[in-house]
Each structure stands twice: as structure tokens, then as C-alpha cells.
């Protein structure tokens, strides 16, 4: 809003030339982050109290990890806070006609909505097991993925119809091949996988939010580069007109995320719930696709991927099919806890891993 009002005022009189500042991504990014952080700080204490009063507390699932039982009774739905802060900040500071921005925001809100429904059911039915069914969740996510693909591959694709179906591989200068229609299937699976991977990672205090910030931050760098003709040309990336707006979007997320971490750090006063983890997952998936970095995600978001894979392998192959455990416990963070690491130690070590992976990923900007 501020962006649009500022632009309009500028066009009215030269005296308001200083509002040119609003044209700069860097300025708006910083302001978006600060606004989001401020909103979270202002709302959180009240929000947390309200959640306690309404008994909107986490119902813990039986995981066999002792410390998980301590966590029952922590308010959940922190994701709502995250999404509200982000959305307000984005509405204030972003160019709301930018298709990249609108698609990313839609992913955030849609996936957040699914998570919210799930959280709501779990809390009102008083059980960690009785949320939305797995199938219902996947169908709802799939619906968005289909719509997203339709826009992305359609004639009004924000990246341009020619670029949309190209498959970019990290460390290679040129797109590997044009997947054509199969690209749709590919990103369909990709979106579902990534969205749920963050959900699975969200098992310890602060474990999901910080790595998400690292991943989103790295993607913001890509957005900045690809949205700038000079950098894109220099680093030989396809120039995507307007994609730089995603830098502001991600900044709002980083701000909201840091604010959330303030309360979510061990011992947590609030959890993001499925609302937060699915929203973040959906957002990261959309960002990766929009920036043509789907194949970088296994490296950049390697932590999320390993968490998701260990969990699925343990459950689907080990426990249900073979009748044995394949890892001591799953997902990864529970396995580490089982090996005798304190929760904080697990979380900080995995932050470090996520940070290193983000650094490695940024190296692909140049090493190609």
C-alpha cells in the first residue's frame, strides 16, 4: 500500500522526489522485515495469552521421546501470527501487481489455510491424531499445485512460456532440457514433497523456522540476481522481469520468522503448528519453482529433505512393511535425541548444517 501510495504521490509533484526511495528493493526489503518483526513483537504476548485462555494448546503425539511430553500444553497456531505479520508487511511494502509476488503469497495463504484447518480440528477434537486425514490434506495441496502449474505454464506465465518448462540444474550454465508437459508433473510432486518436509521438520523448538530463514534468504539472493539485468547477464542466469519483488517478500518472511523465533526458541512459548509449517513449506516450494531452482532445493533444503525421507523410510518401509526399525528413531532430529543429545544441541547443530547448506547453495551462483 505504502509502495502504491508513494508512487502516486511521486507522480503528482516533483517535491515528493525523495519517495524514489520506495522504488528500491533494498529499502523496501529492510522496511518489510522491520515491519513484520514489529508486528510479531506487538501481537505475540497477547496472542499467546489468548491461546492459553481459549485452551488452544498443543496435543502431543505419541513419539516415544520423553521430552515430547513436556511440550504438551504449549500454545500452537503460532503460524497465524507469522502469516498475519508477513501479509500485512507485504501489503504495505510490495508491488501488489507483481505476478511473482501474488503467486508466492497465494501459496503461503493456501497452505497456511490447510494447516490452520488441521490445527483447528486437532485442538477441538482434543487429540494429536485426529486432524485432517492424510488424503484430504494431500488433495487440498494437490489442488493448489494444479492451479499453480496452470498459471505457471500458461500463456501468462510470469517467467515467460519459453523459460517455464526449462529444467535448470545447479552447477550447469544452461538449462539441461525442456521437460515440456512433464514439467507440470515434476513440480506437482515437488510442491507436495517440500510442503510436507517442513511440516515433518517442525518437531523441536526452533528447528523449522531458522533453516527456513536460511533457505528463503538464499532464494532471495537468487531473486535479486535474476531480477536484475546486469547481474543476471553477468552470472548468466535467465533475466526474469519483476522477480526481484520476491526479495521484499522473503524479507517480510525473515522479519516475521525472527520475531517468531524470539518466542519459539527453546523452551518454546508457542509453536507454529501445521498452520506455520505448511505455509512455510508451500511458500518455499513456490519460491523455488518461480526462481527455477527446484533442483537446487535438495542441496539448499537438504535438511528438510533428510527429515522427510528418514521419517517416511522408517514408517512406510521399516515399521509397516519390514517390521523393524531402520533408524534408531525418525525423523532425524528424534534419532539424534535418542542418541543422547539435548534438544538445544540437536537444534543448534541442525541450524549449523542448514546454514552450511545455504552457503554451499549460494556458491552455485558463481560455480557453474
Amino acid at each position: 500500500m505504502i509502495y502504491h501510495i508513494g508512487r502516486w504521490i511521486q507522480s503528482q509533484a516533483d517535491a515528493f522526489g525523495f519517495l524514489r526511495l520506495l522504488n528500491y528493493l533494498s529499502f523496501r526489503s529492510i522496511m518489510a522485515a522491520l515491519t513484520a518483526v514489529l508486528i510479531v513483537f506487538l501481537l505475540s504476548p497477547r496472542f499467546i495469552r489468548a491461546m492459553h485462555r481459549r485452551n488452544f494448546l498443543d496435543r502431543v503425539r505419541e513419539t516415544g521421546i520423553d521430552s515430547a511430553f513436556d511440550k504438551a500444553g504449549t500454545p500452537t497456531l503460532g503460524g497465524v501470527l507469522l502469516i498475519v505479520a508477513m501479509t500485512v508487511s507485504i501489503l504495505l511494502w510490495c508491488n501488489l501487481t507483481n505476478p511473482f509476488l501474488l503467486l508466492s503469497l497465494a501459496a503461503l495463504l493456501w497452505f497456511g489455510g490447510i494447516g490452520f484447518w488441521d490445527d483447528w480440528l486437532k485442538s477441538s477434537r482434543g487429540s494429536g491424531e485426529k486432524g485432517l486425514g492424510e488424503i484430504t490434506k494431500l488433495v487440498l495441496q494437490g489442488l493448489f499445485a494444479v492451479a499453480f502449474i496452470a498459471v505457471y505454464l500458461g500463456p501468462f506465465s510470469p517467467v515467460g512460456p519459453g523459460t517455464a518448462t526449462q529444467l535448470y540444474v545447479p552447477f550447469l550454465k544452461r538449462p539441461l532440457l525442456d521437460l515440456g508437459i512433464f514439467y507440470g508433473f515434476f513440480i506437482f510432486l515437488f510442491m507436495l514433497l517440500v510442503a510436507n518436509a517442513v511440516n515433518i521438520t517442525d518437531g523441536l523448538d526452533g528447528l523449522a523456522i531458522t533453516p527456513s530463514i536460511f533457505v528463503a534468504g538464499a532464494l532471495a539472493v537468487f531473486a535479486y540476481v535474476m531480477g536484475n539485468t546486469i547481474y543476471a547477464g553477468y552470472l548468466q542466469y535467465p533475466y526474469l522481469r519483476g522477480v526481484g519483488e520476491l526479495t521484499v517478500f522473503v524479507s517480510a518472511f525473515v522479519g516475521a520468522g525472527l520475531g517468531f523465533l524470539w518466542y519459539n526458541a527453546y523452551p518454546a512459548q508457542i509453536f507454529m503448528g501445521d498452520t506455520g509449517s505448511l505455509a512455510i513449506g508451500g511458500m518455499l516450494a513456490a519460491l523455488s519453482v518461480l526462481l527455477k531452482q527446484e533442483l537446487l532445493f535438495p542441496l539448499l533444503g537438504g535438511l528438510f529433505l533428510v527429515e522427510a525421507l528418514t521419517s517416511q523410510i522408517q514408517d512406510k518401509i521399516g515399521v509397516r512393511w519390514l517390521g523393524r526399525r531402520i533408524f534408531y528413531r525418525a525423523p532425524l532430529h528424534h534419532s539424534l535425541q535418542h542418541r543422547g543429545f539435548a534438544e538445544t544441541k540437536v537444534v543448534i547443530r541442525l541450524w549449523i548444517v542448514a546454514g552450511l547448506l545455504a552457503l554451499l547453495s549460494l556458491a552455485t551462483l558463481k560455480i557453474r
Binding site: D66, S67, I317, G318, V319, W321, L322, G323, R324, R325, I326, Y328, R339, G340, F341, A342, T344, K345
Partner: protein, 487 residues
């Protein structure tokens, strides 16, 4: 009267519905051997049933069994108190002369028996939808009109069969016949069991008129606790067990003795299921229900080395009795708390199992039965080898077992060698095990111990248990020093 019953005999009528029941037919033929000595004061009428399928031909199977099980002389005696017929058109007459009726738990049979006011020995058919025969049998038994025997599910050459042991059936029949007073009371209760005057009730309902007999008001089902599903049963039993392992008794959870008996049968039948999650559930329930008769089945599962498909092997599967089953079989052995040479052999084998949880549980089970293993050098040696296991969970359990079983200074040396082990859980277990050795007076050289243990790494990566290892260390030192002062 179509059946020639000699005067003064007590009459038993056994039948499994119009088609016949394999379980009842076979059990009855086997029971005759035990009823034989009473041939002068009882008479058995057997309704064999009309079933003639390729799987089971009621009449032929029964007569063949009689031929096979008894010699000519015995058969002659049997004929003096046993009469078989495939079907009775006049079943009312047969009921009328019977003192005890052995039958299935179908609603039809029980209604007839109740209408006749006869006492029943019910063998409900197992594994039916909703277990309705079991529910019927329980209801009638609760009302006092019947006794119940449950059938076992056994595997016979790859085919699943339900069976009741003949001797058990015979003993039950005789004990009921001999308690005349009780049998009479059962007959009365049986008559009161069903809701009679159905036509009058319906008429009264339609016309909105009062019931013809004021004693007919209660037509609600008899109050009975619903049967628990296997999973519900598991949850209830396990929470009781976890609450107090030493005082645990399944009887405290399942108060009704018949229900407990039934659950035991059901758990046993799970062991024969082709799906491993069912067998696994059965294994857990056998232990928690303390079904000691099935101990050998547990041992059998542990020894079963039937391999799984190649595909499953590729992903890490091993045997048909999957890792969880083997691990839980060991836990159940521990709950059953019965030790013997065969149990020992299986647990000893399990120490070398390919799956780490089984090795860990085997070590833990060894520790549980430590008293029986104190003199066995082979066990200690085997456990000492396992200190080098890949999995820290195994090492931890092995170390604790060594503390309970170990009988010499070598064990202590082995344990002290773990002072720099990567996992603090193992180091903590080692200190605890050393303390056990001191308490058991296996190690008395305290100065050496104090010196050696002082080199243990006591820091941990987990604040929640940070105190654990230091606490154990302090206790051990207190123990060593305390002993010193005593001397």
C-alpha cells in the same frame, strides 16, 4: 423315543447346529476316552451334522476318527453309552431328555436351550464377525445358565484349525454332571435367560396396551461389558504393566476369568495369522495376558528362520518372524517370567540376532533372569564380546546385564574399558554395572576401582540426563568408600 437310552443314565447331548461343527465333533470323539470309565451312568447323544463339503464331511470324519482312535473292544464299550446321528428332526425330544447340552453359541441353539430350561456347555465359534457367538456365550454364562469352553486356533500342516482338547471337554462335562445341584440351578437360570412371550410383547407394543405379565418389563439386553478389541486390550494391559511391573497380573485388569480365558485364546489364534502385524500383536498379548501355555509358541517364533522375499531383504528385512516379533517375543518371555533350558538357548541365540533391537532385548532379558545365569561362564563371555557391538543400545543393555550376571574381575575390567565410550548412555550404564558388581561383592579392590573410575568421561551431550551419569558416579564412589569404613 428314537434314541434307546438305558434307564437311570444322565444324558449329554452334543451337537454343532444342523450342519455340525468340526471342533465339537472331533473333541467329543476324543472325549469319549475319558468318559469311558463312567459308561454305566452316562449316555452321550451326538448330533454330527449334515455338512458334506470337500473340506469336511461331518459323518465320515467322525466315524473315521472313531475307527482310528479306538480299538474294537473300546468301540464296543463306547456303543453302550454313545449314540450318533447326522440330524435329529425331533430335537425337542432330545433336549427334553438331556441333562447337559454341549453346543455352539449361535442365537438359535441358545434360544431353544433357554426355552427348554436346560443347562449348556457352550463352545462358541471363534473368529466370527463381531465375535457374536462369544458375546452370546458370555451373556448366557453371566446369567448362570451356561459354562463356556473356548476353542484354540492351531496350525496343522499349513491349515488353520480350531480345536478343543478332548480331555478338557470330558473333564468339564463330568464336573458339571457330578454337581447335580448346580446343574439344576443352571437349568433355572437358563430358562430365565431369554425373553419369552415375544408375541405378547409385540402385540402389547402395537396396541399400546400394558404387558400381560408385569414381570416382563425388562427386555433390555443383559448388562455386559463389551469385549475389548485386541488393540484396546493391549493398551489397557500395557499401561497396567508399565505402572507396576513387579505386581503386574492380567487378572487385575480383566477381572472376569472367562473373559481372560477368551482373550488368551484369541491372542493365541493371532499367532497363526499370515500377517506379521497380527502375529506381533499376538506375541505382545501372550506375554501381557501371561498365557504360559503358549511359551513354546513364542520360542518357536524366535527360532523360525523362514526368510522373507528378496525385495524385502534388499530393504533390510530378514525373517518371516520380523524383528519386532522377535523383540516382543523376548519381552513377553520376560513378562511370563519362566526360565528353562529351552528359553535359555533361544535367548542366547538371540544375542547374535541380525537386528539390533533383538540383541538389545536379549541382553536385557538375560539381565532380568540374572539369578539363573550366575554360574554360567559362557553367558558372561558372550556378553563381554558384545561390548563391541555396533549399536549403542545393545552395548548399553549388555553392560547392564553384565552388572547383574558378571562373576569375576574380568567383567569389571571390561566395563571400565568403556570409560571413553562415544555414547554417554553407555558410560553411565558401565558405571551402574560396576556399582552392581561392588554391591554383589564381585569386586572388592576398591582402591583400584576408585582410581579406574576417576578416568571416566562424565560430561554428556544431554542436559536432561547430565546429572544421571554424575549421580551414578557419586553413588559408586560412596559405595566404594562406605565399604572401606565397614571393614
Amino acid at each position: 423315543m428314537p434314541v434307546p437310552i438305558p434307564a437311570g443314565r444322565r444324558v449329554i447331548f452334543a451337537f454343532g447346529g444342523s450342519q455340525g461343527a468340526r471342533t465339537i465333533n472331533r473333541a467329543l470323539v476324543d472325549a469319549l476316552a475319558y468318559l469311558l470309565p463312567r459308561r454305566n451312568d452316562i449316555f452321550v447323544i451326538h448330533g454330527v451334522g449334515l455338512m458334506k463339503t470337500p473340506e469336511y464331511h461331518a459323518w465320515e470324519d467322525t466315524s473315521q476318527r472313531l475307527q482310528r482312535e479306538y480299538n474294537e473292544e473300546e468301540r464296543e464299550h463306547i456303543n453302550s453309552f454313545y449314540y450318533a446321528q447326522d440330524y435329529f428332526h425331533n430335537i425337542g425330544d432330545i433336549y427334553a431328555v438331556s441333562d447337559l447340552i454341549v453346543c455352539r453359541g449361535g442365537a438359535g441353539s441358545l434360544n431353544e436351550i433357554s426355552a427348554m430350561g436346560k443347562s449348556a456347555l457352550i463352545i462358541p465359534k471363534a473368529n466370527l464377525p463381531g465375535n457374536h457367538q462369544v458375546m452370546n456365550a458370555r451373556a448366557m454364562k453371566r446369567s448362570g445358565g451356561a459354562e463356556v469352553i473356548f476353542e484354540d486356533t492351531v496350525e496343522d500342516g499349513g491349515i488353520l484349525l480350531e480345536e478343543v482338547v478332548g480331555q478338557k471337554l470330558a473333564m468339564k462335562i463330568l464336573s458339571l454332571l457330578d454337581a447335580k445341584q448346580r446343574l439344576e440351578e443352571m437349568g433355572k437360570c437358563s430358562r430365565a435367560f431369554m425373553n419369552h412371550y415375544a408375541a405378547e410383547r409385540i402385540a402389547a407394543e402395537i396396541h399400546g396396551s400394558p404387558l400381560p405379565n408385569s414381570s416382563l418389563t425388562d427386555i433390555s439386553a443383559k448388562d455386559l461389558d463389551p469385549l475389548l478389541s485386541d488393540n484396546e486390550l493391549l493398551v489397557q494391559l500395557r499401561s497396567a504393566w508399565q505402572e507396576d511391573q513387579k505386581q503386574y497380573e492380567p487378572r487385575k485388569v480383566i477381572v472376569d476369568a472367562d473373559d481372560l480365558e477368551y482373550y488368551r485364546h484369541r491372542a493365541a489364534s493371532l499367532l497363526t495369522s499370515p500377517s506379521w502385524p497380527d502375529r506381533n500383536l499376538g506375541v505382545k498379548l501372550i506375554g501381557l495376558l501371561k498365557h504360559e501355555e503358549k511359551l513354546s509358541s513364542l520360542l518357536h517364533l524366535l527360532a523360525d528362520r523362514t526368510p522373507v522375499s528378496r525385495l524385502q531383504k534388499f530393504f533390510g528385512g530378514d525373517y518371516r518372524q520380523v524383528g519386532f516379533i522377535r523383540r516382543n517375543a523376548l519381552i513377553s518371555l520376560q513378562i511370563l517370567n519362566t526360565w528353562g533350558p529351552e528359553v535359555e538357548a533361544r535367548v542366547f541365540e538371540a544375542l547374535e540376532d541380525g537386528y539390533y533391537e533383538v540383541r538389545a532385548q536379549a541382553a536385557s532379558t538375560m539381565g532380568h533372569f540374572a539369578e539363573k545365569l550366575l554360574q554360567k561362564q559362557a553367558v558372561t563371555e558372550k556378553l563381554l564380546l558384545l561390548i563391541k557391538d555396533r549399536s549403542f543400545e545393545v552395548v548399553r543393555e549388555v553392560v547392564l546385564a553384565l552388572g547383574a550376571v558378571g562373576g569375576n574381575r574380568e567383567v569389571a575390567k571390561g566395563l571400565l574399558g568403556l570409560k571413553e565410550h562415544h555414547y554417554w548412555q553407555v558410560r553411565e550404564a558401565a558405571l551402574r554395572a560396576v556399582a552392581m558388581l561392588v554391591e554383589r561383592r564381585i569386586v572388592t579392590d576398591r582402591d583400584w576401582l576408585l582410581n579406574e573410575t576417576s578416568r571416566f568421561i562424565l560430561t554428556t551431550t544431554d542436559f536432561r540426563s547430565y546429572s544421571d551419569i554424575k549421580e551414578t558416579y557419586r553413588k559408586l564412589h560412596a559405595l566404594c568408600k562406605g565399604d572401606e569404613e565397614e571393614d
